[in-house]
Symmetry: C2
Subunit: 426 residues, 2 copies
């Protein structure tokens, strides 16, 4: 038997990186096909960007944590600092800015690709992961926000995740800022405060109050802020939020969506609506997030404001959520329908001929690649690889002009004409 050498660590991928064997690749393909189907059902077009960008692109607006702590950076031969993309929105905004003169707005685009963050790997979080990004650019209508949120809910539904298992929490940063302003909080303090609020679910209540006090809020303001963050009916005074929630109801996804005044998101570039996916049991905290970013495209080079709204959802957390909820799919790891075995080197031609015929009829057909291997071992190979049928052409079959077809699940085997083999396998 061939074995890997346990003394060699180099056969492992780098820490936080993943190998996708056919089993893992089947999940990737399933996940991608589902998000693509949902995106296209809403009329979105697929795009992609480069893996490497200038670090400056993120420095503009992505927020200090992502750029200074989590970016994988390298220098090119001219000394420019490049980054492996930690997120997609800056590349999207750059592309939109570049082509703004020839694009038809509003643009509705989606993509699925790799992102890189240098952080401590843990369950549902790696240094290289995939993200689905979906965005509408070129309109400041809250109907776009409602559509984007409905797409996320539609994806939940497609994956079989129910409103009893997963939610989408939404808020409006501008609405919160207005309330902070009414409390007499300095506008310059708003963004730092939003970052503090974003950490709320990660610290104890006492710690959170201490952090707020340290941030310069007196007891009274801390108390007012906590009231705002806990007021589940606060959205009723916001035309923006009630507008979004009404449209989501028309889409039929209101069961999945709720207002949460404590949701603010960590990224600097969000200007208005923010939203997050949550699992109801709260095992994962935020499972994905998004929001409205009305200035980013101009910040990265467009000559005018091009408002945008979208979200990013990662594969690793969603895989864990599906597992926790018992919704991880049954996957077909090997699609091959039939193995054409080789009886002996002299009869290899006959097996090739049958393979050619089967492929012409669009049957996914594997030909055993070594004519010297014993038939018995080829049958074991088909069983271990989960191939449902095996075709055999030996001297007896050739004499009769037939093919033996064996059903691997029940062991039944019949001698058939080639046309019958094709029929049986379709």
């Amino acid at each position: 038997m061939i074995k890997s050498n346990p003394d060699m660590l180099s056969t492992q991928p780098l820490k936080g990186f993943r190998d996708f064997y056919p089993e893992q690749m089947a999940f990737q393909n399933w996940f991608y096909q589902n998000l693509k189907a949902v995106s296209e059902s809403f009329g979105f077009q697929e795009y992609e960007g480069p893996t490497l960008e200038s670090l400056d692109l993120y420095a503009a607006k992505s927020g200090e944590e992502l750029v200074k702590k989590q970016a994988f950076t390298l220098q090119d031969k001219s000394g420019n600092i490049l980054a492996l993309r930690p997120e997609m929105t800056p590349s999207l905004s750059r592309m939109i800015a570049q082509a703004a003169g020839r694009l038809t707005f509003p643009v509705k685009w989606f993509t699925y690709g790799r992102r890189f963050r240098y952080e401590q790997p843990q369950k549902g979080r790696g240094r290289e992961f995939f993200q689905w990004d979906i965005d509408i650019l070129g309109t400041d209508s809250f109907a776009a926000d409602a559509e984007i949120i409905s797409i996320a809910a539609s994806f939940y539904k497609k994956l079989g995740l129910t409103p009893q298992e997963v939610k989408i929490k939404i808020n409006d940063r501008k609405f919160l800022q207005e309330k902070l302003s009414a409390m007499g909080i300095d506008p310059d303090l708003t963004l730092p405060l939003i970052k503090v609020i974003d950490k709320r679910s990660k610290v104890t209540t006492d710690n959170f109050n201490t952090i707020l006090t340290d941030a310069g809020l007196g007891t009274e303001k801390v108390s007012s802020l906590l009231n705002i963050l806990d007021d589940k009916d606060g959205y009723k005074n916001s035309e923006w939020l009630t507008g979004i929630l009404n449209i989501i109801k028309q889409y039929g996804f209101d069961d999945y969506v709720e207002f949460d005044p404590g949701i603010v998101r960590g990224l600097d570039y969000y200007t208005r609506t923010v939203f997050e996916g949550w699992d109801v049991k709260g095992e994962f905290r935020s499972i994905w997030g998004g929001g409205r970013y009305d200035n980013l495209t101009q910040d990265v080079g467009a000559s005018q404001t091009i408002p945008g709204v979208g979200f990013a959802m990662g594969d690793m957390v969603m895989e864990e959520v599906l597992k926790k909820c018992g919704k991880f799919p049954a996957l077909t790891v090997n699609k091959t329908r039939v193995l054409v075995t080789v009886f002996s080197p002299e009869l290899f031609d006959k097996s090739i001929e049958l393979s050619n015929i089967l492929r012409r009829e669009n049957t996914l057909t594997e030909l055993y690649p070594d004519p010297r291997t014993k038939l018995e071992r080829q049958l074991k190979y088909a069983a271990r690889k989960g191939i449902p049928y095996v075709a055999i052409i030996g001297p007896e079959e050739i004499e009769k002009g037939l093919v033996t077809l064996k059903n691997m699940s029940n062991g039944e085997q019949k001698m058939l004409q080639k046309e019958q083999v094709v029929e049986q396998l379709i």
Copy 2:
């Protein structure tokens, strides 16, 4: 009009990197779907690996040019040197070595993903590109080499490329080495000499002769070597090569394949069969390549030899070849079937309702995302985005309980019942 700012260069991707707008993405998807269909028709399973690997993985065997000159490298926080993968075979070999104890051999796998090489961008060559890799591991039978080459030919055929436009040239490094040895050339000189031979098509005949003389070959040996490199019938004395060519003939792809004693490939790890894709007009030189590598998996950590054979084909050259041969496909950039317009903010609900119905019937349906936009502009939007149908629900339609469906290609419009709209769009 929204325009990009010409003074800002930052809206461009990095040199040698590409943005994939929906037009370019449509080609990517078409190319991937075709190679996936061909790979699966031969019973291959899809896998993937990480984008980053330890530089050591390539240092082992990829050859000096790829590792020292062309690798994009970075350091992690522990000072380890990492590389953006310039090719896939070392990652594949590492994965095979890692899982050798649980895999069923022979393994037949394929993948399509990004590769990175720091070289001068030119037509058909970028710093980031995609490659299809397809390999059989775990058998030293030349039937595997013949199958891999037949898969490449099958792909040519699927893309509409004929044997009058594209070829596959094959050779056997071992066979060449034996001939060099018979000429009295030192075995240590073989690999350097192979690298010289690999450059032959890039230099003039005089230059090539000078290089050979500089490499230490006397006039007589230069002359003998040139005879070997030009002997198109040389394969006839090789059981290995005639065996491969016979099997390819059984597959029905012999029109695409020919022996070429000058093909050697640049990568260090090839041990025996080597092959290259060529365009008949010779505008691109080698368009893709592959070969047999019987020691690589052991070199990267397996405890035993696991022989392999495969090829890698890049998207950028193939795109150029398709264009040159007039075989670049007609692509559907926008799959959306219908735009549901919004007559006015008050009637938005009715448009959402129709969109919901259409999506439930699997019609790719875009809802215009801003209810404040004038209907006329929404119609122009549909025309510019190439959406074939537009649905309108205004006060008249609501009164009659109908929907207006406009065919954008001929301008025809009819008032229909919702069920009729669904029927029309299927």
